[in-house]
């Protein structure tokens, strides 16, 4: 796997020159993902890693929306679920063959494919819709609430209720969504046999590639003008408005980006894990997405990704040994990090690094310059205080 370092060199020139450290980290991640992991891990563990990578894609989006934009979204499960279900519908229809009916529909439903499943017969339409549907929903919803200045905890609660409603809706439509069973038992992914280990590995590589691309996109957004505006909105929305920008537009855009990333993660989750059910998209998993982001470091570029992967990995392995101990551990870690280390573990790394040498030029630091981001609009609804 000697292609990767060279790849990174190219990336260096493609992106911005002189960001050697960020790129070194990126190259290292690429080597680990593409060369080391497939060699070291058994097919089963590699499959698990692939699943974690999908969850990490959601985390990248949350890192942008929450860490950089201050939008605490407790409902990313909705977009994850939309992407996942759209993909699952396509795989089901493809398994059923042209004009066929997915098995569960004849078992539990009327035996007819509803009209809103039909577009998913086409692979191209499916891929398009996986991006479009969450983008449009997030765009409409975001625009509606942000222009009305619903923010802070109000937005968090609304997004949580959205996740609750989405899960209930999925469960209630058993004939067309599989209900609590969800959709599973896929045989092929765009024609490739899913039981073949070679194809499973290929799915892993796709997930790794997509995740890396997402991280790149996130990085570009962060260092762009938009990224600066985003942080400004987080830290002082009114000031941004006075400067003539529209904070609602900024928030809507980042919410849409996060939604699309979650949807893509969901879409890849389906062929890799082989099942999607309402248990993966409701209130609890939606908050669960935040755990890794918070622990890793919400406002950094790689913190959410690494945190998310680490938490998923720990959950799988530790819970194998101590089912109930894991909950205490996870809860305690989460509490401690949020309460005492709001910048996440990433801020530890940076603190140590800054301790020795002179502080680096912030422009060269690809992570944000504020290790412990304050919440947007502190105590948003304790009225009476001029903002």
């Amino acid at each position: 796997m000697n292609a990767t370092p060279r790849t990174s060199d190219r990336l260096a020139t493609l992106l911005r020159p002189g960001r050697s450290r960020a790129l070194a980290g990126f190259a290292l991640a690429a080597v680990l993902l593409f060369a080391v992991a497939p060699v070291l891990l058994s097919p089963f563990r590699l499959g698990l890693l692939a699943k974690f990578l999908c969850l990490a894609m959601v985390a990248v989006g949350i890192g942008l929306a929450w860490g950089r934009g201050g939008l605490l979204t407790l409902g990313q499960g909705v977009y994850f679920g939309l992407g996942a279900y759209l993909m699952a519908m396509h795989l089901k229809l493809a398994d059923a063959g042209p004009g066929g009916v997915p098995d569960f529909m004849s078992l539990y439903g009327t035996g007819e494919v509803p009209w809103w499943w039909e577009p998913m017969r086409s692979p191209a339409a499916t891929i398009l819709l996986i991006v479009l549907v969450p983008a449009v929903l997030a765009g409409l919803l975001g625009w509606a609430v942000f222009t009305r200045r619903v923010r802070g905890a109000y937005f968090a609660i609304l997004s949580q209720a959205l996740a609750a409603a989405f899960a209930i809706l999925l469960i209630g439509q058993q004939q067309t969504t599989g209900g609590t069973n969800g959709l599973n038992g896929f045989r092929a992914f765009f024609g490739y046999d899913l039981t073949d280990p070679v194809n499973q590995r290929m799915l892993y590589l796709i997930a790794a590639g997509v995740l890396l691309v997402m991280v790149l996109v996130a990085r570009q957004l962060m260092v762009s003008r938009f990224g600066e505006l985003l942080v400004a909105v987080r830290d002082g929305e009114d000031r941004v408005r006075f400067l003539g920008y529209d904070p609602a537009a900024v928030k809507t855009v980042v919410y849409v980006v996060a939604a699309v990333m979650a949807a893509v993660g969901g879409a890849l989750f389906v062929p890799i894990v082989g099942i999607i059910s309402p248990a993966d998209v409701g209130v609890v998993p939606s908050i669960g997405f935040l755990v890794g982001v918070a622990i890793g470091g919400r406002a950094t570029l790689l913190g959410p990704v690494l945190g998310s992967i680490a938490v998923s990995w720990a959950q799988t392995t530790v819970s194998e040994q101590f089912p109930s101990g894991w909950i205490y551990f996870q809860g305690a870690l989460f509490i401690l990090v949020i309460a005492f280390l709001p910048g996440g573990l990433a801020s530890l790394v940076r603190r140590r690094r800054r301790g020795g040498a002179a502080p680096p030029d912030p422009r060269d630091d690809d992570a944000p310059t504020d290790p412990a981001p304050p919440d947007p609009a502190p105590v948003p609804h304790t009225e009476g205080r001029p903002a």
Partner: protein, 422 residues
């Protein structure tokens, strides 16, 4: 790694990493349509090691999350059966080595852990699962890995996988006898209450078909979302519909709220009995005996069943886990499942999946509920159906029995009225 195109990488630049992986996808891997697909798809090369003195089996139950309430009990009785079998010399002279995994009440986790048990731990068979969702999630795993799952809970039928043995009741051993019983009691109208998920919806589909053929009016059908806490509206609907009986397929916690509301609203088992198919001894304590006494249940086993095997089972269970513990149908079915697997293995004189499947037909066990026998065609178990009434002591007492084991018929092929169901 099959990235064999470094030249392309150089030329395309870094941003094409994703594209690269897509390109390589075309380079390898079996397509479903290609002729070689079958050969490569069969990953049936098992890693089960039976050369030593032990053989590994997996227990996969939810030990955390919302289903832990129920599944912990199944886990306990599986452990009991394993300990008994080991004390008695094991299976084919080999001691059972248990690998326990936590399904965490999530179907996705069940699928993941099943894969782990089969491919990493190399177990000879897996025992567990509770919700239909968990079984449906595991089914493709067991079929593609060609391994065995023993599923211990009554379920909605319409399924028969060569890789799953269903040791709980299918619909014609629980729901159909319950309907027969109600019809025999002169019930002419029914109200259906269930949780909003697969089992109740399928069960109610069957009930509707049965009712249509037997002159029973279904006067209402209501579903509550899982975790629903307020049943006043549903109970109002039940009350105003004034049916002869209520058929209850609610799951878990919902039963508590439902029965409290039911008795608070002044409805009693005398005027409108509720027949439940998901309430066992274990749940009665949580609902409160005063709220459910006199109501009916349909199962294949109660703690009060009068057989010597059951007396021994209850005694052993309480000695192990405490005098205050009760035994229930799914626990007993799980206990049976381990013994039935033992019977199949010993008949086959092999742990290999194909041999066990081959030998399965006719294997029987003197279970606490009475004799149970494996049906080799559909992998279900012939069981006796029992309608019970909840007593003041919090136990369930048999009210009516099918007297002899009913052959399993998961697709209800032997019932004329059920022909349009699947």
């Amino acid at each position: 790694m099959r990235l064999r195109t470094p030249a392309a990488t150089r030329n395309l630049g870094g941003l094409s990493l994703a594209a690269l992986t897509v390109v390589t996808l075309t380079a390898c891997g079996a397509q479903v349509d290609s002729p070689g697909a079958d050969a490569s798809a069969a990953t049936g090369t098992t890693c089960v090691d039976t050369s030593g003195d032990t053989v590994k089996i997996g227990f996969l139950n939810s030990l955390s999350g919302t289903m832990a309430i129920s599944e912990q009990t199944v886990h306990d009785s599986l452990q009991l059966a394993a300990a008994e079998i080991n004390a008695d010399g094991g299976v084919l002279g080999k001691e059972l080595e248990i690998v326990t995994e936590d399904g965490q009440s999530e179907p996705t986790v069940f699928a993941e852990k099943a894969t782990k048990l089969i491919t990493s731990d190399c177990v000879a068979a897996v025992f567990g699962g509770w919700t239909s969702a968990s079984r449906k999630a595991m089914l493709p795993v067991f079929e593609s890995q060609d391994s065995l799952l023993f599923y211990p809970v009554q379920y909605e039928g319409l399924e028969a996988s060569p890789n799953i043995f269903y040791t709980g009741a299918t619909t014609n051993q629980q729901i159909v006898p319950a309907l027969d019983y109600l019809a025999e009691q002169g019930v002419e109208s029914l109200f259906l209450v269930g949780s909003d998920y697969v089992f109740p919806r399928t069960a109610n589909k069957i009930i509707n078909a049965y009712a249509a053929a037997h002159d029973i009016d279904v006067v209402g059908e209501e579903y509550a979302p899982l975790g629903h806490t307020d049943f006043s509206t549903i109970v109002n609907k039940v009350k105003s519909a004034d049916a002869d009986a209520v058929f209850n397929t609610l799951n878990g916690d919902s039963n508590v709220a439902f029965f409290k509301e039911y008795s608070n609203a002044g409805l009693s088992p005398d005027e409108m009995p509720v027949l439940s198919v998901s309430i066992a001894e274990e749940e009665i304590g949580g609902i409160g005996v005063e709220n459910v006494k006199g109501q009916l249940t349909a199962w294949n086993y109660y703690q009060t069943v009068d057989t010597p095997e059951n007396a021994a089972f209850v005694e052993a269970f309480q000695a192990e886990y405490g005098e205050d513990r009760v035994t229930s149908d799914p626990m007993e079915a799980a206990y049976d499942s381990l013994y039935l697997w033992k019977g199949m293995v010993e008949k086959a004189e092999s742990f290999a999946v194909a041999d066990v499947q081959e030998a399965a037909d006719g294997v029987s066990f003197d279970a606490p509920e009475g004799i149970v026998t494996v049906n080799g065609d559909n992998h279900h178990i012939a069981k006796t159906a029992l309608i019970g009434r909840i007593g003041d002591d919090g136990l369930i007492h048999t009210e009516w029995s099918s007297e002899e084991p009913i052959e399993p018929d998961p697709f209800l092929e032997g019932y004329d009225w059920a022909q349009d169901l699947s």
